[in-house]
Amino acid sequence: MSGLNIKEMTKREGPLCEGHRMCPGCGAPTAVRQAFMGIDDPIVVVGATGCMEVSSTVYPYSAWRVPFMHVAFENAGAAISGIESAHKALRGRGMFRENIKFVAFGGDGGTYDIGLQALSGALERGHDITYICYNNQGYMNTGAQRSGATPKSASATTSPAGLKLPGKLQRPKNLTEIAEAHDIPYVAQTTLHNPMDVITKVKRAVETKGPAFVNILVPCPLFWKIDPADQAQVCKLAVDSRFWPVYEVADGEYKLSYEPKKHVPVEDFLKSQGRYAHLFKRDAVRTDLIESAQRDVDAQWEKLKMRIQSSQR
């Protein structure tokens, strides 16, 4: 991957043209842009229902410079399977290019929750596809509801912080590990802390024969309640606090992509966002929940380290 030149890559036309309707500071279009930077082959894209699908296809315009299909919310995995199979059936006939790659995008709602079955089916069947979850940890298209990806204690509109309840009570599921449990050739987790990490991982995912899954943590300024300008900084805090470890699993071998030299307490990550503001009220700081978040982060990190060690044995 050392051959990738970021300066050269930024000159490339992205898959989305200017004028799409996504919010300033939204991590999704950043993720899409970076994801495609290192890919040379033509790509066909499926989008699950969600912010990105709605905002990029407002008729009579489409922001997509590549073929794009949206069917519904829960079936991006199945839709991309059908397209990839059609290409297999038709590619020998000279009608279409041979080297097309197939990428599905789903938010965390469309991937962790309602689309998990279709994703699992696609991974199990071994289609030559890449599924990218742009994970902003909740249902943003409908107004910041909690999902299976929403972290514990975050205040979402269906798990609001109230007089009695301190935001979401449950921990999120670990979808990256669920994907890895399908024994597929490539799984990765990343965020927008460093463009090269997204670029190289998606490139590897797309170039890997068979199914690949990439989970990209992307901020939603409206839900996370951050300044749109702070997108990269918040992602950096997610990584530096070990809240969101960045790693990849190629053919079962785990590899950490970045290890903070000195990790920061998760409190710093939580404090950077308004969705945790209820934990930091003056005179009523929820030390118990902040400590609990730190314990979860530490446990998750230890688990990952063990996986890395045992896979490299």
Partner: protein
């Protein structure tokens, strides 16, 4: 000898579609099972996707069809219901999927036998719906439907319905075309705006506000409006090969009939037998079978029924709290008649309840007795049932 399911699968083998995505459910399972054998034996070169749900089956079909592939699948009952969300999307994408819908009751309670409660809720999905009487007709209709669905003036997916177990599993003689003739008739599929054309990228499934949604939906309806013409042309072309021609409706001794039973699918055979018996007894009985339900052949129905002394419409599904689907269509078609045609609606055969010649005879007796009181009557319902006695025949 073959069955409706196997006749469907045989037509699929001959057509050799590019992609089949399917999920098992009784009684349609045999179709993908048999087809998987063809794949395993190398008798077709289809990409067969054994998906993890019916929802994914129809979604994969949509993706493949939009990509430019010729696509087929099959399902029944709850499988069809699970696909419900995607049917209007397939129609709006003008994805000419050929779908074997093997009719089975919708749970609850769970029941695997025939009625039309699975296909009728999909009548407004924008798909063509054709109901077959027997296995021969199933076979002929698959060959026909590939061309009908893909026609540039139609570009609309099609449900080929057959009665679960009654047609799908009973063996009867079926005449097949040669592989060459079937493939020659089907031709090849050329999609407009295929998704795989990366040099001319298009977006499918856009977000459309009130300014344009209405116009787009109206344009889509035009595909169904063109079906009668294209159906007629294509059917005549196929009939030249097979010697068998099916209209949108089948008129069995209706021309001079006083009393006509309107029915669909396999129960038609019973009704026709009883018409024969009654004719021998001097009763001018007739039977009208509705084969194409979407688009509904209202003109042909009106032409067949205008001036009759009595018409009975037999529905194999109910619309709880409303008029059953076939009765609603027939009555609506008769609204423009100069003189009112007396129509009585009946519900029969739910959950595979047998429809006997004695049942059909009681319906004709009902008509000739002049009983046209409003309200539905239930055929062959047992006692210990909530229905009032006068509603049961």
């Amino acid at each position: 000898m073959t069955s409706g399911n196997l006749a469907f699968a045989e037509a699929m083998r001959q057509i050799n579609p590019d992609v089949v995505a399917a999920y098992p459910i009784t009684p349609s399972t045999e179709i993908p099972m048999k087809f998987a054998e063809f794949v395993a034996d190398g008798r077709v070169d289809t990409e067969f996707i054994a998906v993890e749900s019916e929802h994914s089956a129809i979604t994969a079909c949509v993706g493949a069809s939009v990509s430019g592939a010729r696509v087929m699948t099959a399902s029944s009952a709850n499988g069809v219901a699970l696909m419900h969300e995607i049917f209007p999307i397939a129609a709006a994408f003008r994805a000419p999927i050929v779908f074997g819908l093997v009719n089975r009751s919708l749970g609850a309670p769970v029941n695997i036998h025939c009625d039309h409660s699975d296909s009728m809720p999909e009548r407004d999905s924008g798909w063509i719906q054709i109901y077959c009487e027997d296995a021969q007709e199933v076979y002929d209709t698959v060959i026909l439907s590939v061309r009908l669905a893909e026609h540039p003036d139609v570009r609309t997916p099609v449900f080929i319905c057959q009665d679960g177990f009654i047609t799908s599993h009973c063996y009867e003689p079926v005449e097949f075309l040669s592989d060459e003739a079937a493939r020659g008739f089907a031709g090849t599929y050329e999609r407009a705006y295929p998704l795989l054309d990366v040099d001319n990228p298009v977006s499918y499934g856009s977000f459309v506000m009130s300014e344009d949604y209405f116009e787009i939906k109206r344009n889509q309806i035009e595909g169904l409006n063109n079906v009668p013409r294209v159906y007629g042309e294509t059917m005549r072309e196929l009939a030249a090969l097979t010697g068998r021609e099916y209209g949108a409706v089948e008129r069995y001794m209706t021309d001079d009939a006083d009393y006509v039973v309107v029915v669909m699918s396999s129960a038609t055979g019973v009704a026709k037998d009883v018409v024969d018996s009654l004719r021998r007894e001097g009763v001018r009985a007739g039977c009208l079978r509705v084969r194409v339900f979407r688009p509904f052949p209202a003109d042909e129905v009106r032409e067949a029924l205008e001036g009759k002394l009595g018409v009975a419409v037999l529905d194999r599904s109910a619309s709880p709290g409303g008029v059953a689907p076939l009765a609603a269509e027939v009555k609506s078609a008769l609204y423009d008649c100069e003189t009112r045609v007396p129509v009585k609606d009946y519900i029969f055969g739910l959950g595979g309840r047998d429809f006997f010649p004695s049942d059909a005879r009681r319906v004709f007796d009902d008509l000739s007795s002049g009983n046209f009181e409003p309200g539905v009557r239930y055929i062959g319902l047992r006692d210990k049932c909530a229905a009032a006695e006068e509603c049961v025949i």
